[in-house]
Symmetry: C2
Subunit: 252 residues, 2 copies
């Protein structure tokens, strides 16, 4: 048997933000290896498939990744349609390259099916475009998380160079993110938004300034969250602050 | 009539890279305003809708944008489900904010439906992840295009600060992009790829180094293209170069 492996983006969370191609592949899959954040309704499309949970919510080890790589290679010897289902887009913070390299070395046919990334879903929820004419012509997607065996990365300079930045997997590091960006020259008043569970009914959006980021992060729950930062958020953040004041006055 | 306007991402090109939500909305749409790059099969999903082409391929004027804004507002007074269908993701280089602001001022209900952006599709076609563990932890999406009435933007610094960069609407400016980035300190040997018609059967992929970008751009056709730049492309570009040499030797 010479199976084919599909690295498929499951999208940001809501099951109907899956692509038509991904839905079709799931329906014909023999086996699906899925990440923790994939929606049960998305998984349910794979009616005829064995479903294997892999990957952890945070801080997956490279040993775990190597084990996933091996399982994909092994599955391609036994099944025709192997789907590796990843949250968001596989090629953005999805560790797809390690799986691609393993499949390539093993001579296994594969294809990448792109998905909607969390930044796009957060932007839709915020109703604020990440790029804006005359105001934001570049946007940086970044993770401030550095693995144990990884070299340090220069994410703060990249964030500060961009008009808009979206930080993935950063809510747990809010204190150091705010302190680092401000220490490197970013205005502490730069508008930020924290979007938890983007695209899902239980989503939460919190606005503030960069200096408030640690407090915003403490107010959110345990769902996956992205941090958006930049002047594009100015009016939305100010509107949110006015609404909060009105609410306080109403209650007083 | 109080209609609702949906700003919908049509995805990168291939009709089956549309989301399930977008497909459902098109099926129920009364009227669809669509960009030039939307696939005919995607548009065909809107069986019961009037279909209005708006927007130009390149360099849309702000007068044209204001006219689109007005048409959306007017349509919401006449129709229940108004779809504004944009290539890729509406919130990345889609001028969505101008439409959102116009709808808000007019008091019209609206919703943004995110889509797969061109960078994700190009990355899937390249089979190279935009982020890679230990190598690329930030990626910048940018356009080097500046409108006539816009302030200059500092896109080169943002590109150079990022591990990986994806340039939208830049193929026509390849000469100045390469010259500017190199003048600002980027290594002329940095791997680049030009992906034309990402996700479509007629896609073309050209690899090279940053110094070759003008030549690559001249070799591509007239389709929409993104430029990907960064060390993540190193192995893919070298493999492509070895294949080209083999091909030349075979012919000699």
């Amino acid at each position: 048997m010479n199976g084919k492996v599909y690295l498929v983006g499951a999208g940001p969370g809501a099951p109907d933000l899956l692509t038509l191609r991904a839905a079709r592949l799931l329906e014909s899959a023999d086996i699906v290896f899925y990440d923790a954040l994939v929606h049960p309704q998305t998984l349910a499309l794979a009616k005829g498939a064995a479903k294997i949970a892999v990957g952890k919510r945070c801080g997956r080890h490279s040993t775990a990744q190597k084990f996933i790589n091996k399982r994909l290679v092994d599955a391609a010897a036994k099944f025709e349609v192997v789907v590796r289902l990843k949250g968001g887009d596989p090629m953005l913070f999805g560790r797809a390259q390690e799986e691609i390299d393993a499949l390539r070395v093993a001579g296994i046919e594969f294809e990448v099916v792109p998905g909607v990334t969390a930044a796009s879903a957060a932007s839709a929820d915020l109703r604020v475009s990440l790029t804006q004419r005359g105001r934001a012509r570049h946007v940086c997607f970044v993770t401030p998380r550095v693995g144990k065996d990884e070299p340090d990365n220069d994410w703060p300079d990249s964030v500060n160079a961009a008009d808009t930045a979206v930080l993935y997997m950063g809510a747990g590091l809010a204190d150091s993110i705010a302190a680092t960006l401000i220490a490197r020259g970013r205005d502490a008043g730069t508008p930020v938004a924290l979007v938890e569970n983007a695209s899902l009914p239980e989503r939460r959006i919190l606005f503030g300034a960069l200096r408030d980021l640690p407090r915003l992060a403490r107010e959110t729950g345990v769902g996956p969250a992205v941090i958006v930062l930049g002047e594009v958020l100015r009016e939305a953040a100010e509107f949110d602050a006015r609404m909060a004041v009105s609410e306080l006055l109403r209650r007083a």
